[in-house]
């Protein structure tokens, strides 16, 4: 009996040690088992791969991890939502490109003109582009694509119509102008597909058979496993693409992702997108470079719909902010990557405010403010954590920090259905969620701080605040001004930001980073240069032989 037990135990031990052994080679830190927190000294790999001399090489397949289930048909872009939209990138191209800074660049549309008086945007299209079925890309096709998106109801509702004004010119009609409209046209949800193929074969065929203008075309789509694209020999940019193919693999399990990044050859993946600081540290090795950027904080979002609730008082919200020791949060669970969020918009964006606006940690001030507000003994409230994006341990830490100043907090961790319910239908207490800064910062405000004005009654309403709250009108006006400028204006955006900070509409905690972990022999993908709509330029990417 003892012999048997010993034998088996020894086998298990051997396997475990073998599996963990790879870490000691790969890590610059001393983390022995994936999943444990290493010491705080962060390793920051360069944001660009080692310099390579010479022209791009041809050949190779780029393998990217995508965490969707991979079941959606991709041939009809305006039906595709969520992470699946990324999968369109190799075959589908949109009218514009968007950089992470928010700048717009031409793509299938060579030029555009904005008319704010008549509320139109006129696009001049490229003339040398063909679809993979040989049909021409022209104004007729482009207008048809946009109209389909409008009819599907998933495009910005401000876009009300489109018309053909020339063989390569279209005019889009708007209900109102906002400087987020152009970024809509950079999204792959509105990629151009062949009208001819669609009308000839019907929507069911089109769903399974994408016909786009992009550098690759669909080779094989194995639902739930991977999608493989192969080179489009007749791509409109001569000499490109360099790669033979692009493949997305649907790996949802973190451990398997790690194994895939560490593998090479046919099983190895070249690109992994993650915002888990833990994963970034685990995979850090000489074989990869880490391309990361701050994408906005995880914040506490209080609901003050109830005017009797303590959260409706500004001093209380300020007190909560003073009670949080942001630095120790990132020291404990930041893995050397995360940073404290002392303002809502991180300093990567132009809407960041001067240091005087920075939030700080001061428990005495917190208690003082609470007493001032009429809660010398604190009060009870609830924290509702967003599933998937928020680290549970952080939430528990916040709970104990608030406890220290007398605020009793109940924690709730609902599933995505329950959470969505809270967001759409209101909640008591505070949400803990990621408040993502999008490239066009006004989009951010629109998503989280959208104040609506009822034109008939002149009343302002906002899902997070009661309508009796004074600064609503101020916020509305500032948002309108920022949104309606022809181009994003940092000064105007700062105005909005100021209102949010002054009124502590949300309480930022720590900044999350979005990182692309890329193998060293992959070049010119541009993952962190392009915004979420554009993602990357598959035509420019290439792999050096290694």
């Amino acid at each position: 009996m003892k012999k048997a037990v010993a034998l088996v135990l020894a086998l298990i031990l051997a396997l475990t040690l073998g599996a963990c052994g790879r870490d000691t080679k790969a890590n610059t830190q001393s983390s022995p088992v994936p999943g444990s927190s290493p010491s705080a000294a962060g390793t920051d790999n360069t944001a660009a791969p080692p310099a390579v001399s010479g022209a791009p090489e041809y050949g190779g397949v780029l393998r990217i991890v995508n965490t969707s289930e991979g079941a959606t048909p991709l041939g009809v872009p305006w039906e595709v939502i969520g992470i699946d939209v990324n999968l369109i990138t190799p075959y589908g191209e949109a009218l514009l490109l968007e950089k992470t800074s928010g700048e717009i660049e031409p793509w299938l549309a060579a030029d555009w003109k904005i008319d704010t008086t008549n509320l139109t945007v006129t696009f001049t299209l490229r003339q040398d582009v063909k679809f993979t079925d040989g049909s021409d890309f022209n104004a007729d096709v482009a207008a048809w694509n946009i109209q389909q998106a409008i009819d599907a109801g998933i495009i910005n509702p401000a876009i009300s119509g489109v018309s053909v004004t020339g063989p390569y010119e279209i005019k889009v009609q708007l209900d109102n102008w906002s400087n987020t409209i152009l970024s809509t046209f950079a999204s792959h949800s509105f990629s151009m597909i062949s009208k001819e193929a669609f009308e000839k074969n019907g929507i069911d065929w089109a769903r399974e058979n994408p016909v786009g203008t992009g550098p690759f075309k669909l080779k094989e789509y194995v639902r739930g496993e991977r999608i493989t694209y192969e080179k489009n020999e007749n791509y409109w940019q001569a000499g490109k693409p360099y790669l033979d193919g692009v493949e997305y693999v649907f790996i949802r399990d973190v451990m398997t992702q790690n194994a895939a990044v560490q593998a090479s050859g046919d099983q190895g993946v070249d690109v992994l997108n993650t915002n888990s600081a833990e994963q970034m540290i685990t995979l850090n090795s000489p074989d990869i470079y880490l391309d990361k950027m701050a994408i906005g904080p995880v914040s506490l979002v209080p609901s003050s719909n109830n005017p009797d609730s303590p959260l409706s008082k500004l001093e209380v919200r300020q007190a909560i902010s003073y009670a949080i020791d942001r630095q120790s949060l990132v020291d404990a669970r930041g893995f050397g990557i995360l940073t404290p969020a002392t303002q809502f918009i991180p300093d990567t964006w132009g809407a960041h405010l001067p240091d005087s606006y920075n939030l700080s940690y001061n428990t005495e001030k917190a208690k003082e403010l609470l007493a001032q507000a009429g809660y010398p003994n604190g009060f009870t409230t609830k924290l509702i954590a967003m599933p998937g994006m928020v680290d549970k341990d952080m939430v528990v830490a916040v709970q104990s920090m608030l406890q220290a100043v007398g605020i009793n907090v109940e924690l709730e961790f609902p599933d995505s259905g329950g959470y969505s319910n809270y967001r759409f239908n209101g909640w008591e207490g505070m949400l803990v969620q990621h408040t993502r800064s999008l490239p066009a910062i006004a989009n951010t405000f629109g998503l989280y701080f959208d104040v609506k004005k009822d034109d008939a009654t002149g009343a302002y309403s906002y899902i997070y605040m009661p309508s009796t709250w004074r600064p609503l009108e101020e916020l509305y006006n500032a948002e309108q001004a920022a949104g309606q400028a022809i181009e994003p204006d940092d000064k105007l955006l700062q105005d909005v930001h100021k209102i949010i900070m002054d009124n502590m509409i949300c309480i930022p905690l720590y900044n999350i980073y979005d990182a692309f972990i890329i193998k060293n022999n992959v070049h010119d993908t541009g993952f962190s240069q392009w915004g979420a709509g554009t993602m990357f330029l598959p035509a420019d990417a290439w792999k050096s032989s290694k």
């Binding site: 009996m1 012999k3 048997a4 034998l7 088996v8 396997l15 475990t16 073998g18 599996a19 052994g21 790879r22 289930e69 079941a71 959606t72 048909p73 039906e79 595709v80 939502i81 969520g82 939209v85 109801g153 998933i154 910005n156 509702p157 987020t180 809509t184 949800s189 769903r207 194995v222 639902r223 739930g224 496993e225 991977r226 693999v249 649907f250 790996i251 949802r252 399990d253 451990m255 398997t256 194994a259 895939a260 560490q262 593998a263 050859g265 046919d266 099983q267 609902p414 995505s416 259905g417 329950g418 959470y419 969505s420 319910n421 759409f424 989009n443 629109g446 959208d450 979420a532 709509g533």
Partner: protein, 318 residues
């Protein structure tokens, strides 16, 4: 006998209807509206209630519940399982693909469990108290308690990353590329089969021990049969009854797949689809999958019951 089967099939139909109604109602009671979740995944920065209602109407979710159910049921009878709300795929076709994959892995694991489990159990019972028995018992306990994902990850890192012997993830159907399919299947099948082998071995062992102490086994010995003949002719058939019951419940796994194994090894099976649909409140997918699973469960219980009759002639059907 025939009337018995027909009766059972009618029961099966009734059970499926009842279960489908229950699931239909239950999933709509869960907090979280799929339309709201759908909208929140688009890149829209502004959502109006009108947009939400328009989308709801588009997907047919604003009709009265009985109408929705009746419509779905009639279509299902005709073989049309509808389209996914969240992801727009044809449910029937997708289930077809996924079931095939799950069957390949699940069936292999099931057969291995069916064969290996009883063998280990019999050996262990017949050599009770000896080294073999202890070894099998220890392995069985590990097989039952070790979580599938832990074993899976260990294997991936050891055989995939370290030794580079087996592929880390993915799945190919055997008729597309037999060798690749074989290599990719080894680890997932092993992980899936571990639990069933272990439970079957333990169940068989205790069942065999029980049978071994029966009087008719003593008679068999007294007739001068040697150990091999006593086991093969007298012990096995009589110990199989509880084992068959157990295997019957595992039949479900063959079609349902294991979401853990599928997630870790990136296998496009039924398990992932089910869980994904449930988390995103994709009503028609959840309903379709539940119907399929119910069908499998009632059919496998019918098969088990019929097997009983063959194993134990004392059982009558009326």
């Amino acid at each position: 006998m025939l009337t018995y089967i027909v009766r059972r099939l009618i029961h099966a139909f009734v059970v499926i209807v009842i279960v489908s109604i229950a699931v239909f109602i239950l999933i709509r009671l869960l907090p979280g509206d799929p339309i709201e979740m759908l909208i929140s995944q688009t890149q829209l920065t502004e959502t109006t209630p009108e947009m939400i209602e328009a989308l709801r109407h588009d997907k047919g979710l604003d009709r009265p519940l009985p109408v929705q159910y009746a419509d779905w049921f009639v279509q299902m009878i005709r073989g049309d399982f509808g389209t996914s709300i969240m992801r727009n795929f044809d449910i029937g076709k997708e289930i077809g693909n996924r079931v095939t994959v799950t069957l390949m892995i699940g069936l292999s694991a099931f057969v291995i469990g069916l064969v290996l489990g009883p063998i280990l159990g019999i050996v262990s019972a017949v050599r009770r108290g000896k080294f073999v028995d202890n070894l099998v018992t220890v392995i069985a306990n590990i097989g039952i308690t070790a979580p599938a994902f832990w074993v899976g990850i260990l294997l991936i890192f050891f055989f995939g990353v370290r030794l580079k012997l087996l592929p880390i993830y993915g799945y190919t159907l055997p008729w597309d590329d037999f060798w690749m399919s074989f290599k990719q299947s080894l680890m997932p099948i092993f992980v899936t089969a571990l639990g069933p082998i272990a439970t079957t071995a333990r169940q068989t062992r205790s069942s065999v021990l029980e049978v071994m102490s029966e009087d008719y086994i003593r008679t068999a010995w007294a007739k001068g049969l040697n150990e091999r003949k006593v086991i093969l002719r007298h012990i096995i058939k009589n110990s199989l009854l509880p084992v068959v019951t157990l295997q019957g419940t595992m039949l479900r796994m063959v079609v349902g797949g294991s979401v853990v194994v599928e997630t870790v090894f990136v296998i496009p099976g039924m398990g992932k689809m089910m869980v994904d649909a449930m988390l995103s409140h994709d009503y028609p997918v959840v309903q379709a999958v539940t119907v399929i699973m119910t069908l499998v469960v009632v059919l496998s219980s019918l098969i088990v019951d019929l097997l009983y009759g063959w194993l134990d002639p004392r059982i009558q059907y009326d």
